[in-house]
């Protein structure tokens, strides 16, 4: 059993701690993410998934994110919330690595965990990650770009054109190209990730080399690490958690916009002009006035017409008398 513990591979050690620490920290970080999104301080872009992976899942990516953004021009999103999340991630990761690390030392390595284990693991891992992850990013991006170009070329070769009348059908072509470049870039990503996890495992192993072996039996160790995780006063734990939950819920609903913060052009309502209020008495008066005005106009027009007729008759009489004069 002791031999098995000593011969545990660095990759296995690294994966055991990193996997658990990621999930332990991510639960706390996800609460911050929701509050920052509610406040509108974070605007993730298309690479949301990648940003989550970089910012939330891994405690070793903390310094790698700004380096990748600066060196490769990668853009994860906008807003001060990303910076806040970056700073909040640091204490959360130290706590998560400490909790998981102490458990791992007691249960799997059967060694006394040193004081300040979380901080000791975190700064070493973050430092290595700051160099290793940008290199991984660059290598995978370069290989993926070239693999995509190569897969496009392979899908257009003549022999395939001969098999199918008009070349490969679209769905098959997309599937083939994706399989080619996806396999290459995934293999590289997995290979480099395993190297990174192995380096992380070697850091843990170096820290554990200076630690004293535990003298307790297995049951005693289990009780010890169990008590690290579940406090004896469970009523207090439940009460404080419920309190935090209530406060967070109140903050969330206070910050949440009442109407959608994402109005879309397609759904804009046409501006409706309010109709004037109908007042019967005023309308009747107005109509009566208008009628009177129109009647007066008509009468004036008729009088003008009659006057014009009289004038014309007079002029005709004058003309005829002039014509009859010798």
């Amino acid at each position: 059993m002791a031999e098995e513990r000593d011969s545990m591979s660095p990759t296995k050690i690294g994966f055991s701690i990193l996997w658990s620490a990621c999930w332990t920290g991510m639960v706390v970080k996800s609460v911050f993410v929701v509050l920052l999104l509610t406040m509108g301080l974070v605007h993730f872009e298309g690479r949301f998934g990648l940003a989550v992976v970089m910012l939330l899942i891994s405690p070793v990516t903390v310094f790698a994110v700004p380096i990748i953004m600066a060196v490769f021009g990668a853009h994860f999103g906008e807003g001060i919330g990303i910076e806040i999340l970056f700073w909040l991630s640091i204490p959360v990761d130290i706590w998560a690595l400490g909790l998981v690390g102490r458990t791992f030392f007691l249960e799997r390595l059967r060694k006394e965990p040193p004081d300040g284990l979380g901080l000791a693991i975190w700064w070493r891992a973050a430092l290595v990650g700051a160099f290793f992850l940008p290199a991984l990013w660059g290598a995978v991006s370069f290989v993926t770009d070239n693999a995509i170009t190569a897969s496009h070329a392979m899908a257009e070769i003549e022999s395939l054109r001969q098999i199918f009348d008009n070349g490969l059908p679209i769905a098959e072509r997309i599937g083939l190209e994706l399989t080619i470049w996806g396999t290459i870039s995934s293999a590289l990503l997995i290979g480099l990730s395993l190297i990174g996890i192995s380096i992380f495992g070697q850091i843990i192993r170096r820290i554990s080399e200076n630690c004293k072996p535990t003298s307790e039996n297995y049951q005693g160790l289990i009780t010890r690490w169990d008590l690290m995780r579940v406090p004896t006063d469970q009523g207090l734990l439940l009460g404080s958690l419920a309190g935090v939950g209530v406060v967070m819920s109140l903050v969330f609903w206070t910050l949440l916009p009442v109407t959608t913060p994402h109005p879309h052009d397609c759904c804009k309502k046409p501006e409706v002009q309010g109709e004037p209020v109908f007042k019967p008495a005023e309308a009747l008066n107005k109509n009566a006035q208008r009628l009177a005005l129109l009647t007066a106009q008509v009468e004036a027009m008729e009088q003008q017409k009659e006057k014009g007729k009289g004038k014309a008759e007079g002029e005709t009489a004058k003309d005829s008398s002039a014509k009859t004069k010798p």
Binding site: V27, V34, L37, T38, I170, I174, I222, F252, V258, T259
Partner: protein
Amino acid sequence: MDSKRSSPATISDHHPSTMEKLVAFLDERVGLKEMQAKMLNEPIPGGSRWAYVFGSILLFIFAMQVLTGTLLMFYYVPTADHAWASTQFIIHDVDYGWFILGYHFWGSSAMVVCVIAHMSQVFLWGAYKKPRELLWIVGLALLGVVITFGFTGYLLPWDQRAFWATTVGVEILDKTPIIGDFIARFLKGGPTPGQMTLSRFFVLHVMILPAALMALAGLHLFLFRVAAPAGPFTGTVEEIKAKTDYFFPRQIWKDMVGMAFVFCSICALALWEPVVLLDEAAPDPGDYHPEPEWYFLFYFQLLRLKLFAGEFGQFMGAVALPVAFMALLVALPFIDKDPERNIFKRPIALISWIAIMVVIVLFTVASVINREFLD
């Protein structure tokens, strides 16, 4: 002093609080304490684990879907001429309506993801083997209910996406021999999707499926308690015995943390990518390329392959393949009778699971690329 404190006279002076009285009242009538002991004192071989949280998370997501769905029903009108407008009204005019609808939409996706995660955990842990065969089969029925929930709910906003996804889905069902024609006619209620389709999908979504899910989930839990948890597939007997614990408090604590994380994830998605409707449903797709919800995209892309073209190919892809796959899953505990549960000593199971996951991821990504190509 001490003797005075512990005397029976002093003990009898203790006046129970209102809560204690309420608990005693309920306990006397419904056996509350016994029920609590039965529910919480379930031993978990090898102790609590994060891998065991998916079942509780699924119940939590379902409860939230019921809550948000009920809130949406206060404003939603299930008629062909008002469904789209009432959904727009929920998004743009109802207080917090945009968020509730977004939560309900992403909650359905979370449910599918958690069902797949739960099934994967059971498969990899070998927890479907004897004596848990019935538990596995009821779980598969629950998977079917969850998928049907997604399918029926997709039509309700009555936009172009909803209309055409349903049209394609019903056409696929129509290809099933013997019962296909009946199912298609029953769901559509006419030659093309219309008011009858919407009414039928609505009734299925808000009445029949929730009832079916509750009944099956109850049966699933009952069978789980009868068969008892399977426990880890590795570790010595001594290690498993040392770690064995009760359901309360450690597993409940993990379940609660898992629920909080899923809740935060759904909220984040609802905030980041809220629901946006396309144009109102119309018999002319226009520029829109019909496609199903994202978790069916891999299958949709699979059906685009030349292999599944033509009458026979369509039958193979739309009916024979999924039916054969489901039949294999149902028969799995009866085919795989080897008591070995360690996944690393079951290479066929491990390779099969990896292959299925790779196919799902590959064809989903291919479908997204295909969409960009069509656009």
